[in-house]
Amino acid sequence: MASILAVDDSASMRQMVSFTLKGAGYEVVEASDGVEALNVAKTRNVNLVITDVNMPNMDGITLIKELRALPSYKFIPMLMLTTESAMDKKSAGKQAGATGWIVKPFNPDQLLATIKKVLG
């Protein structure tokens, strides 16, 4: 089954995402900020990255940019968790190489539907 890297500085969001995805049979690796996520990504490969945008140490957009620069992450789908209003974040994220976004607030069904579509 596909593995997913879930990055969020909020433990409750991480729990929710992780619980939802694991329940659907995905393997989930968690990280609490960009730096941690980057380290995880360098030691193992995942099939999809979901990241929050606003995080301490390294934000989601920088993370995506850094990940895209890694050979094994060139084509990996990367989704940002962002609020509807943050249009500038969306385009900044796209510039950095994000595949797309999931709008907060979302519920587990919406999350799963999106993930399923992206992973096929």
């Binding site: 409750s12 939802t20 606003n54 995080m55 084509f75 789908p77 797309g100 519920n107 069904d109 579509k117």
Partner: protein, 697 residues
Amino acid sequence: MSIDMAQFHQAFFEESFEGLDAMETGLLNLDLGDADVEEINTIFRAAHSIKGGSGTFGFTDIANFTHVMETLLDEMRDGRRQVTQIAVDTLLRSVDCLRDMMTATSEGTAIDQANVAKHKEELDNLLHGGAGTQTAEVSQAPGDNTGKRGDGQGWQIVFAPHEHLLRTGNDPVRIFRELGELGGLRAEADIAQMPALADMDPEVCYLSWDLRLLGAAPRVAIDDIFAWVEDDADMAIVDLDQQDEIKGEVSPLKEVDAETAPPSPAKTANPPAASAPTTPGGSEERRKPVAGGGGSNANSGSIRVGIDKIDGLINMVGELVITQSMLGMLGEHFDMSKVDRLKDGLVQLERHTRELQESVMRIRMLPISFTFSRFPRMVHDLSSKLGKKIELVMSGEHTEVDKTVIEKIGDPLVHLVRNSLDHGIEMPQDRIAKGKPETGIVHLNAYHKGGNIIIEIKDDGKGLPAEKLLAKARQRGLVSEDANLGTKQIYELIFLPGFSTAEQVSDVSGRGVGMDVVRKNIQALGGTIDIESEEGVGTTFTIRLPLTLAILDGQSVVVGDEIYIVPLVSIIESIQIKPQMINLVAGRGEVFRLRERYLPVIRLNEIFGIPNARAKDLSEGLLVVVEGDGQRCGLFVDDLQGQQQVVIKSLEANYRRVDGVSGATILGDGSVALILDIPGLLRLAGRNQPLEQRLSA
């Protein structure tokens, strides 16, 4: 799929409360006019996380409220709005309001909507410079506004991705698959841009597509599917109803889901993810936790433990298991030749058990900053209320203390800091008149010393007026007119019940909780409090607390057949006394002279009614000189035994409170020993003595 969102609530509340504290700290640190962007960013991030979480977990009220705060902070962050005192104060009040909302939600009680509305209006006024009711983005979106079409021919979509599309992780096949779910889809690829095989870069997207989506799919649904890639491609979407003639022949190169039935309106209830808020099912999902999951498990006490502590613990258990198995092997074929190895093993076992015990204790240890963190806000608020200029300096915030101490030391500390602000630090003009800096300093400090944690509250204010204190004590009849007290003993007077130094009770301190309660609370934690003061220079309160409440360093003493534990911190020394040191003073019982001081003798066998004490005459036994509440006395016992760490078992929980005894413990041989409460014993022994005699003893 239905997932019970309530299970994440506790974590959400915990981190939200932390976030609120971070916001408060950040706001207090902001420099007006020239605010640090990173600092604002931290505050913004906290607000943002709370908004995101509360929206996701269905706490719409909180999400809406936080949204307004976030907007304000966002403007400050971008420099579109000045960081003014008014804005900071409003935000601080909003943090309080939000905390109330969070508490109410976590406890499942109703949110004070009037209060929320008041604060929201305050924020709105600030935002718009007038009354405004901004609708938060996270409010429930109307059910379905996707603009359904009637039956139609469908859409033509020209989709020409830029070269880098693949490197954004987007796969055109996924997009086509999604489109196929909306209706019959025909896709024609344009290969005109394809280079020769030798020149081809496999990472570049050379293809473009001409797509036909048949049926009555709504335009919004199509837009949603392309939302992620619209900036990465040239696109045109044309309604086939309005443009019957389409350029060129459509030759189906690839047919995806040609059999898919024309979409029914129900399909729109499950649109692609990007349109999340429009899903009627989704909004229902999100409303549920509000009704049901209020605060189901919000109150189960939990504790955050660092990974390093857990690792240390696991490591220690591993060592213990190794030692145990080694001893086990030794025991299987034991003979006297192995006795040395047995001893070694037992020593190891003891060491590992002790280390394990310490590791377990460390889990309960939290940095004192949990308590200290409330003071910057308090000092900020109170100093402006009092019209004083006060700077709060904190050090040693990372000193670790038992969780129970953290919880219980808060109120006494608040009282002491309030006192320093209210009575200690002078008004700015008075300070200048005395040649002091205009801004007074209150210093909170914590550090470890021996087996104790020391907390100091130090101010550079006017100090305690010894004469005034003494006069007041005399006036209240707490001290007799002729009593001769040292300065230190006079300071001790403020801990007496019914003694208040403030000439007028202000609403800052003096809320009916006196220093006697402060001392009682500290004593309940097994601690002591001392005062040092110099008039005109300042006052220092020193609180000394045990590191943990579960274990105590004790000295075992023998009285008759009984063994008692005296807390090691209370013991000054143990002496054997000569008959000439003893005096009998009328009305004051036995006293003994120790280095020009007369100390009362407390015979433990009399206090506890032990008939078979070996030592009857004072010179036959030992005197353990102890100190409690600043008073010293000699405990008369038969003999001393070893010093040891004892595990405290509560007497109150298992039996009832007993004067002079703070708890019990179980000794190595299985018998029970009582742990003495020295201040309690002193009270018990001196109950019938007038106060000044006790003080001057």
